[in-house]
Symmetry: C4
């Protein structure tokens, strides 16, 4: 893949983003959260651009050539590569929140199963877990953390509209699940976003375990 | 093991296949999908031959000497080594589909348990999972992906006949389970076949989890 | 982070403690028991001081600069770094038992789920497991090992008081869980404390599995 | 630890055994089957001696100094080291079967939970699993593989007597579980014994999964 950068973006800036994405992807792949070339990851490059994973690559073996530049309308910039179909869900975050700089979408077994199980409710409510404090802005296990579960669709604008509708209703949003699919979460930098993702995977896993055990 | 190659097969071609098999086997073994020397893997070498794992070897430590040449009737070619008892299930794929070049058979706990659980139904129907799209030809989670579960037998021709019967009935087939045993899947190259295998392991695991949780 | 040591503590002594904590933390992180920067670890340096992890760091990548000195009232000594909010639970152990030299607090999924499940009982009673013998002072599987589950709170003095009340009632205590949170355990040296932690994680996991299976 | 060898045992022979034990132990520890310094492993050195793990060591980090020589009455030979309390269960195998050269005892969560669950039955009957064929002498999934579950005791002669009673009743024995504890299995060499252990862990795990799912 050949990537030509706009004059305003130094190669070193793009490469730093690409390397951060590849490093995180390698860790998430090793956890088994990116099966069968699923998942996609992005990082804001500047006010109008982001670096994002090219569609269909093995997430445990990304190199710089597997990361491409897009603008915030989701169009490829300076490359013929095809961005992930779900690019619109990444750019939506960057457009709405200038302070958000990283979006991670993974596809673990816990995430997929939880999304199916809570799809009818449309939301998973987490409460009473100390690890809720790993989400930016949460300071006690007594808070309630709501993760919406949106219906899956192959038509991205529908999903974008559902996210917008949730936010326009004034509800806090730190992550969402898509039914039968995976999770999206974001943060101000890679460390915060990985912390969010790890905490959410942990909390969803705990909820599933507890549900099974309480039924016993 | 000594392997003599027919004149029409350059050593470099056989070795490339053997190395690709050994590399994939190492990864699959590290996932725990090849317990106790189970599982077998093959790759087409040319129109009339395939490379396949010698029976009974530890799949995490295969070298070139653990891969042998067979013809598409399943006979050893240029070696005294014994091919796996299940060689006939590999050659059946290569004979029916000239475009298929890799067959992977693994034996994970999820695969074995799912096969027992759905043996009476004779089939597992997958629907509503985004990861169905990892199977070649599937473009939406709304499709139905059917994985047949055939009764186990130590007599391979019976299994070959069951696979033929399924195909002759005009039903699509991308993989099958054998009861109390494991999975067979295939593809045009190693990357596609590994993607199929990873997706199927993931989907079967999700189905088992969901079944447990919905009963809760 | 800059750490100035009191004259009575040679740098080599502090560094030995810091390295032992970082090594153990790397192992515990690799097991997945420290998700999303949770967990904290400490080691006694002398009669009046301990080394403890700085709050909020990734436990798989601790260096010497991520470990700080505190006195046994939980105050930072010779550094501006912020000790973990839960420091008081570490110093309580060092003050009560001069022979205890290491405290490990982790946050595995098994620990969190078990704590929620047994919170109403206030205790988990382990009996009939050979691995109870891994806890110092236990010599047979016929003994009963009680692990209290204390309610979670963001106000540490409440937790300190609950631990004190348990001990003042004359009950043996080798570890405790906090509801929706994780486990605390301790020992005379790092090897004993890691053995305690491994055994407790194993035993809690077995209890959860058995509960699910006995309901089947 | 200092180990003096009898004149009839060359250092190279003892060291080969010790290294094989340490290598296998490292692999089994990495699987999580030897928690909290549990488990013990041995290999026959000659007709009257075996090498066995010294009690209480971390099984992921064994060196030659953590393996000692015993005679087939279980007495230390040429060392002050203390053999494992369960040495009598190893020597019993070597005394009864001259063709058996390796004994592995591990303590996985699956093994401990299965032993508790089937303790009242006194036996686990495995049937219908292809992987039964990994046990020496089994050639079809239609065979029945019986694994007895003996009551736990801290008094080893009781366990030795139970094993003898099973064998004296003429029943086949390839492995046994001890209630709340772990598994013992053996074989003609290390590769066969590891294959037995891997297959048994897999089969017990499948049985537990299936029991949970069939109740769903």
């Amino acid at each position: 893949m050949s990537q030509t950068l706009p004059a305003a973006i130094p190669a070193s800036v793009f490469e730093r983003c690409a390397d951060a994405i590849a490093d995180a992807a390698r860790e998430l792949s090793a956890m088994g959260w990116t099966p069968a070339t699923s998942s996609n990851f992005s990082m804001r490059v500047d006010a109008g651009h982001a670096a994002i994973t090219v569609s269909g690559r093995h997430k445990g073996r990304l190199g710089r050539g597997d990361i491409m530049l897009i603008d915030l309308d989701g169009h490829a910039v300076g490359t013929d590569a095809r961005p992930s179909a779900e690019t619109a869900l990444h750019t939506q975050i960057y457009r709405r929140w200038p302070e958000m700089n990283v979006v991670l979408h993974t596809h673990s077994r816990v995430q997929s199963v939880a999304s199916r199980l809570f799809a009818a409710d449309g939301v998973i409510r987490l409460q009473g877990w100390e690890l809720q404090k790993a989400i930016a802005g949460y300071h006690t296990h007594e808070s309630v953390l709501e993760i919406p579960v949106f219906p899956n669709t192959q038509h991205m604008p529908e999903l974008v509209a559902r996210v917008d509708a949730w936010l326009d209703a004034g509800k806090p949003l730190h992550a969402y699940l898509i039914d039968g699919h995976g999770i999206y979460t974001w943060g101000r930098d890679m460390a915060e976003t990985q912390r969010h993702l790890e905490a959410l995977e942990f909390l969803l896993g705990c909820e599933l375990d507890l549900k099974r055990l309480r039924a016993s």
